[in-house]
Symmetry: D2
Subunit: 203 residues, 4 copies
């Protein structure tokens, strides 16, 4: 296998990239400048040097060489310490933060628990989550903020199983995001789960 | 304009049909059997003879020549008379009914109130709605079940304005469908309104 | 089955219409004016009265009560009588005529011959075609203008089998439309048949 | 700008990649193994070391450290030396080669000439093309194999202008790919250029 084929194989592991587009990437690299390729190669190599995992919420953040181990959100003393919102991935946290609806703390699981996973604790940061919760003495509510997909619902079920004892013991409310109509939902085309949730959660 | 062109014009008024598809309809009629065309023509002509508007929920229903003026749902004595669910269109009612989440009474507005409509009462059955509510002595809750679209939200706002006085006076709860994540919603791609509702309505 | 369900069944036979859209058609009719429904019903019934099949090219045309049995194209004395172009459907003829590339005579087969059809002559106007060709004494070329689809290729093969003897006998050229790159074709994404034709037919 | 943002910027230059997908690429790298990132970084850096431009057809090929300067096609003594097929890009050559319709020599322009380009010779390998043609003493035909797009047609026009004198002088046939119906083309929906070409190139 030559370097073109090897590179195609590597790009195919990028999310959503098939063999045809992977090949296009390689050809675009072949016609790009030496400077661009050198920079890209260096950035990929350095990526983990300059990026750390926040020791509180566990999302990735740029350390900027100042030795910090907390991201900007976790380092902010004004965030509400009574609520912890758990998401599956960094991008979920980013989208929620962008919407300005939440001012508490976060925790990033680093993934979801697939249906039928034999060892769920290998898919998500279970141990880190439990330790963080132990340290949050003012905690009053944990929001499980999962996508309403099969993976998300399975992850929520797993979280509920490991957080329930702790929730009872410390009197911490365990909540999930509200369900019902989302922007653009038309009743004519809604599935019965959405209608059921929308009716049950009417107000 | 010949009969083909006239028929194309008529089919173009069907929802979602452009000139090209309207023409295809006409050509398919030209090659169909005489029997099929006669039946289709007769069914269109008879449509309103055999279909009545239910005098309770105002949806269309087949009378079957028995002189009834109530649809099967409204004629069912076992439906809960304490709740009235208002929808914009017949298809919304049908989809909710199919989901088996609701066992009360319905009212079909016959459309929605467009943004900036000058006379909203001309777009929806305001007068009929108020009369029906007057007759429902056991009524405890009115659910405004609108799609989460611009038209739906505007219609809800209009309904709220005409139903609020009556709701206060007779102590009838005025509710709307719950909002939040609907089936398939991924946090990464959600708009901020959906995230706001999902967070606000967490439970 | 009530009239609504019957009408839904009838609209489902329209090309490209599924049950959901058929139902939307019926509801849109229910809320349309009586006048519109009466006109639509009448137009469908009259369709075949005002429309005749041209006795030369066999396409549908509006007779306008003048007792003519030839469409405007076939009645035009200036069309080239040495060439006959055979298409599967009226819409093919219309699109070719709109492009102004052809000035000869047409023949509409009224459909295509499906793969594995047991009696091809039942799908297309074989007898009429042979009679028309017999009458065209000046004929020098027959163009088989089929879509480049499985049905089109099968129809062409069938036509070739029934026209070949006649073509040899009367020295009439039997041709098919050129094949190769069509507008927008990108070499990177072309299938090998297209590339083969494009290379073979280079000029 | 931190390393994540820099890397997003770099991935955005990949063909067809927007900011959202570029970000997904970066997060997928953050969660990939160190080994994978090191390999990817090294492959990008080495890409041009192991890949050479063929000195005959000018496409990219893997040299495999054997010091060759001809790709496998150009090194093959059995290819027909009387025909030269010119394509815009490597992927076009690959797709034609995969279809097994052509057994002659190739030349890759390295791009197309955009409409209104002021210096067309800067977009394509004009000088190399002319030198290669000069060396091909047995050459009898040059096939200009461009996509049937605005860029492709403009490139063909440019090629014709620079190759015509040479073609006349050396009696080399200058041809283009055939035009007409391509696989799947339906007459009903064809544009008039395609119909015109299909009719003109009938056979």
């Amino acid at each position: 296998m030559n370097v073109i084929d090897k590179l195609i194989e590597h790009f195919r592991r990028f999310p959503g990239i098939g063999p045809r587009q992977a090949k296009r990437f390689v050809y675009s690299l072949l016609t790009s400048t030496d400077a661009y390729r050198k920079e890209l190669s260096a950035l990929i190599l350095e990526l983990k040097n300059d990026i750390a995992v926040c020791q509180s919420c566990f999302r990735f953040f740029a350390v900027n060489g100042n030795g910090k181990n907390l991201c900007a959100i976790c380092a902010d003393p004004n965030r509400d310490k009574e609520t912890l919102l758990i998401v599956m991935r960094d991008v979920d946290l980013e989208n929620i933060e962008k919407s300005h609806v939440y001012r508490g703390k976060y925790f990033v699981l680093g993934g979801g628990v697939p249906i039928l996973a034999e060892n769920p604790e290998k898919n998500v940061r279970t141990k880190d989550l439990l330790e963080i919760i132990k340290k949050m003495s003012a905690l009053k509510e944990i929001v499980m903020a999962m996508s309403l997909t099969a993976e998300g619902e399975n992850t929520e079920e797993y979280l509920r199983s490991i957080l329930s004892p702790l929730s009872s013991e410390r009197k911490i409310k365990l909540s999930t995001l509200g369900r019902g109509l989302s922007t653009g939902t038309e009743l004519e085309y809604s599935d019965s789960d959405t209608l059921k949730n929308a009716f049950k959660n009417r107000s």
